[in-house]
Point group: C2
Chain length 380, copies 2
């Protein structure tokens, strides 16, 4: 099978780029002296995760229990479920641990902590819990200075539940776009998480792990003293949002959507392709960044970006490719000749996690031109 | 299984509402004297499609060949693949027809028409082709007055390929919000498609079918003289976009996402739930409408909307539920007491087609409280 013959739309992984991205992150983590735990929510694909582990990753982070179950079934045991637990999910967590999965869960509130203690006491289960720390105010977690940090630690520790560590995720890094600002946020993430760990330890609560990370801060951090592990996900593929954040050139983006031209609206300067939002996802993450790529950046079949074009619109199975400058008559005049019906293009996505999730499988393009099917899963 | 115990997030279909929506559309089509062909891209679920056929639908429209293959395997033969064909897809189309599937394809350009003729002549296949007409300028198709309409018809007809009809989709109806404007667009859609059919017939090209439709125009049309069939998809579930368009009350929306509260950020007035964009989709279709519902409208477990709240933000597996009026101190003060960790809610989606696509299955909530698993599929 070749890119010329594959049914479209299809999600293509450039294996050489992916391998380079994985190696570069792992080398950086090795140099900083920390364990690296990839967040597998980006790919949900065993072939990708195997490449991450082969490069030196230790353990994985997951965003759903289905990921934990699927990757544990494939032989991975060190798993962090990095979304604050709801007590109703504890039975599924315990079932995995009983089978030998070293699954860790997280909390950021006393209510869930009490629920975990009650569950462990009534079922005689043991669970390992990490406490989620909020170091940049962007979503969940408790700030390092809050009383609740120690309250949660004491509830768990006194209740006989292992407090394994603290973790944070500086998700606001996606809103930055300079090396200086990213490095400053990485230091804020490190210092805040370390401070939380020190407060717990000072209160007599064990806290072995200090886990931080986001792709931008992982790539910008200058030192990670006190941190024991870093988590990141999208770095394996990168995407246009990460390009705008400033952590990858366009040429590092390893995921693209293969598409076929199916028509034109010449008067409007539109080329219609068979990759709509069902293929690209509805993610418009670049809309508020320095460069708005619409629903994606089209490239030729060999991956060369079509400068001056973006996917300006998307219906369910129709994408609208057009010049950014709609008044560019020279562009419009030759659109039909330049991109006749049947032309194949590859579209780089705004957000690799969202675009990948639209597909039941990737097609992995190896450097020798071989195309392999790499299954992925979805759901919870 | 009950809504209290189901793993979250989960996509819930209120079967009573869905059945009512399906019956109402079918009754309307029966009264207007046209065949009704549901677009099954919304649900991609055999249980839903069976309910549409039981109510009187004749044939289906699909947006992917995988839908055609899956529903044909389930016994449905009259299928319209309603996305302009790329010649590279013809082998898959022919394979279905050889098995007995009455699969129709569409084109809006002479290039694809010539490709179809060449394919049929070289393979000795017969194909039925409809011509896509553009009656509102929103996406693809050729306008009823264009020379290309007759060019396409002649290429196909002279090449021995059956021209089965014309079709149009007034997708710009999603941008309207008054009954008058919708009725006017429905008439424009009908008249334009009819005019295209008449031009073909006058040129000696057969054109039996005149197919129009979108959920808003189907529900607003006052007469459909000359039209032989109507297509619509999202009407089976409805959603917040359709509510803003003015074609359904909130209480008709049959799809919701069951979610669990997993934390709070009290200072910000946020309730964190386990339905992020992976569950809701990234669709922000209401963002430019009269009422912006963020990532969805939360309801209590029995389906009662929580007035004054929306899902203001979404990360991959985190949704942020908050009062619309962020300064409403009375709202914020009791958020933790009103929605403690573990609370279950149901979130109505902006766009049912996009939200449904995030799930491997629906959970169908029957009027007696029984919950059944209804599988759905994705991919191409």
């Amino acid at each position: 099978m070749t890119l010329d013959l594959l049914d479209t739309p299809a999600a293509i992984i450039d294996v050489r780029r992916m391998t380079t991205n994985i190696a570069a992150m792992q080398a950086r983590m090795n140099a900083l002296g920390v364990k690296f735990r990839p967040h597998v929510k980006t790919s949900k694909c065993l072939d990708v995760v195997k490449a991450q582990i082969a490069a030196g990753a230790q353990g994985i982070a997951v965003s759903t229990l289905k990921e934990a179950e699927t990757f544990f079934a494939a032989g991975i045991t060190d798993i962090l479920y990095a979304v604050s637990i709801a007590p109703s999910k504890l039975a599924r967590v315990a079932a995995l641990r009983q089978q030998g999965c070293d699954l860790k869960i997280i909390v950021d509130n006393t209510s869930a902590a009490s629920g975990i203690v009650a569950f462990c006491q009534s079922t005689h289960e043991t669970l390992e819990v990490w406490i989620e720390v909020d170091t940049d105010g962007h979503r969940s977690g408790i700030t390092p200075e809050e009383d609740a940090l120690l309250d949660i630690g004491r509830i768990l520790h006194a209740g006989g539940v292992e407090v394994g560590g603290v973790l944070t995720h500086a998700g606001s890094s996606y809103e930055l776009n300079t090396r200086e600002a990213l490095a400053a946020l990485a230091e804020q993430e490190r210092a805040g998480c370390m401070h939380a760990a020190e407060r717990l330890r000072a209160a007599g609560i064990p806290c072995n792990t200090v886990s931080v990370g986001s792709t931008p801060t992982a790539l910008a951090a200058r030192q990670l003293d006190g941190v024991t592990e870093v988590r990141a996900g999208v770095y394996a593929f990168f995407d246009l949002v990460m390009h705008n954040v400033g952590v990858c050139p366009i040429d590092d983006i390893a995921l693209s959507v293969l598409t076929t031209v199916i028509g034109h609206q010449t008067d409007k300067g539109w080329v219609i392709v068979d990759a709509g939002w069902m293929a690209m996802s509805r993610d418009r993450g670049t809309s508020k960044q320095s460069h708005d790529f619409g629903y994606g950046l089209p490239c030729t079949l060999d991956g060369t970006p079509l400068e001056g074009f973006v996917l300006i619109g998307a219906n369910q199975e129709h994408g609208i490719l057009a010049p950014i400058d709609a008044n560019s008559a020279s562009h419009n005049a030759d659109l039909k000749a330049r991109f006749p019906v049947g032309t194949r293009l590859r579209i780089l996505p705004n957000h690799a996690c969202a675009t990948g999730a639209q597909f039941p499988e990737y097609h992995a393009l190896h450097p020798d031109g071989d195309l392999a099917v790499w299954p992925r899963f979805h759901g919870w």
